[in-house]
């Protein structure tokens, strides 16, 4: 039915729905006000950034059950800083990493946590996987008892439920708002942050603790799986095992770690005079719909372009693209193709990579890598990707920052790529805060 002004009753009925359209919700600005992290080369943002600028990697050899020595990124934060010994015994490594990073984020944010309404805090933690470590440990445990399942621990189920790391944060910190994990393979760190942005815009929570964590180095299955896939990195110099874009790269270094952010609506952050570290102005998650493990540069480019559209930016307005590149022969080339397509004609967009320092922190990767670049808003330095002895010609992007940091006039916009298995791509865009 249509009246004389061409206005249909159908349209009128849809008006309330249109008010909730994403374009409307984007009017609410979401800012980062705190970061807590542990990475293989730093347990605070300052330490981590310093090492990224000084070229200090954090990979070591660990003894992996059934496999012998493998390179891995290992964190050395003090878990007892925020957990009792009993909590540590009952909980998971992912939970400990998440709890440490969440406390550090709250401290960094300056939020008066004691008086904050805990019902209005949401916890959204990205994970690549969860439960492998605990299940492998328990199977190993009962192998010592002739596989008699009466020796299987009653802690198994609470340790392995998918919401575990986020749930451990809530138990430890007394948060009674929503919590869950976002399973998004190695795009999970970005996905956790994106979920937080959406929940803040919907008004579901007033403060979000969001990011990603990984405990994957305790799972032999992760390492053995990559090895069987021909994608486990190695090098005589262990700190060169992860070397994205180097011609001799031969695979991934698996790492543990985590980065949790405090995200708030801009008005709330301004009202408490928060130190605003950046504003999330755009994002996109899409799917390759093509292969279980092989990346798809066409869909990756599409993801980055859609994130730019979401932010209302052109490619040349992005100062820094942090690559997902994991040091696999094929994956790095595919991402470079996608970046060249989107940013190839953008002379002031610089490209870097963090996995060359810390390995692949899986579900934490996106969140950790963004954190390592956030200080460039202040210091105007782009940390390099290291370990490039011979640049692969197929990865020779014009503005790839290799081996040495690059001082630039300004860094105002960062695009953070994170991609994962089953063809999940994510791009998150953060801008230096300007009111």
């Amino acid at each position: 039915m249509q009246n004389s002004q061409g206005f249909t009753w159908l349209t009128a009925a849809r008006l309330p729905v249109l008010l909730l359209h994403p374009l409307t919700m984007q009017q609410t600005r979401i800012v980062i006000t705190g970061v807590g992290l542990t990475s293989p080369n730093g347990n605070t943002l300052e330490e981590y950034r310093k090492n990224l600028l000084e070229g200090i990697a954090g990979v070591q050899l660990i003894d992996m059950r059934y496999m012998g020595e493998v390179p891995a990124g290992v964190c050395d934060f003090d878990p007892k800083k925020y957990q009792t010994r009993k909590e540590l015994r009952v909980g998971t490594r992912a939970g400990s990493i998440a709890i440490y990073a969440a406390h550090e984020a709250i401290a960094h944010s300056g939020i008066d946590f004691a008086t904050f309404d805990k019902t209005r805090i949401g916890v959204y933690v990205g994970t690549t996987e969860h439960g492998n470590v605990e299940t492998e440990n328990e199977v190993y445990n009962i192998s010592k008892f002739d596989y008699d399942t009466k020796f299987w621990t009653h802690h198994h189920n609470p340790r392995t439920v998918a919401n575990n790391p986020a749930g451990e944060i809530t138990i430890n910190m007394g948060i009674t708002g929503p919590h869950y994990t976002i399973g998004a393979a190695c795009a999970a760190g970005n996905a956790g942050l994106i979920q937080a942005v959406q929940m803040l815009r919907l008004g579901e929570v007033d403060l979000a603790l969001a990011g990603g964590v990984s405990e994957s180095i305790q799972s032999f299955g992760i390492f053995a799986g990559f090895k069987s896939q021909g994608a486990l990195g190695s090098h005589d110099d262990i700190n060169k095992a992860s070397r994205p874009f180097d011609k001799s790269r031969n695979g991934i270094v698996v790492s543990e770690g985590g980065a949790i952010y405090t995200l708030e609506r801009l008005d709330d952050a301004l009202a408490r005079n928060a130190n605003i570290l950046g504003e999330i102005i755009g994002y996109r998650i899409n799917s390759d719909a093509s292969d279980y493990v092989l990346p798809n540069p066409e869909r990756q480019a599409e993801c980055m372009r859609a994130a730019l559209d979401n932010a209302g930016l052109s490619a040349h307005e992005v100062d820094l693209v942090n690559t997902h590149a994991t040091s696999t022969p094929q994956g790095d080339i595919q991402e470079c193709k996608a970046i060249a397509e989107v940013f190839g004609s953008s002379p002031t967009t610089y490209i870097n990579n963090t996995k060359s320092f810390i390995g692949h922190a899986m579900g934490a990767a996106g969140a950790l890598e963004l954190a390592g670049n956030l200080p460039s808003f202040q210091d105007h330095i782009i940390h390099p990707t290291i370990n490039v002895d011979e640049l692969d010609p197929e990865c020779a992007l014009a503005n790839l920052v290799i081996n040495e940091p690059r001082k630039v006039d300004a860094v105002k916009v960062i695009l953070n790529n994170s991609f994962g298995m089953l063809g999940i791509n994510s791009a998150l865009i953060v801008r230096n805060f300007e009111n």
């Binding site: 009792t84 010994r85 009993k86 008892f145 009466k150 020796f151 009653h154 802690h155």
Partner: protein
């Protein structure tokens, strides 16, 4: 095995599963939960460690027998001595 030795075995297990608790002054006749921050999962841990470390089975119906150090000793000592 004496009841005091069985009590020490239970205390050693508690020290293992609840390492933040002070077990030095535990009173035998008072409920363990009234003297320490132990929950139901902790008691399941005690049952599991008795099974793993000592081959002692505690059926679910008998869990209340583990309420205090004294009741643990009364209940468990015959089981240890029957091994």
């Amino acid at each position: 095995m004496t009841e005091d030795q069985v009590k020490q075995i239970v205390i050693d297990i508690i020290n293992e599963i609840a390492p933040d608790e002070d077990t030095s002054g535990l009173k035998g006749e008072i409920s363990l939960r009234d003297q320490m921050d132990l929950d139901s999962m902790d008691f399941l841990d005690i049952v599991m460690e008795l099974r793993k470390q000592h081959g002692i089975e505690v059926p679910e119906a008998d869990y209340p027998e583990l309420a205090s150090l004294d009741s643990c000793a009364t209940y468990l000592t015959p089981k240890f001595n029957a091994k």
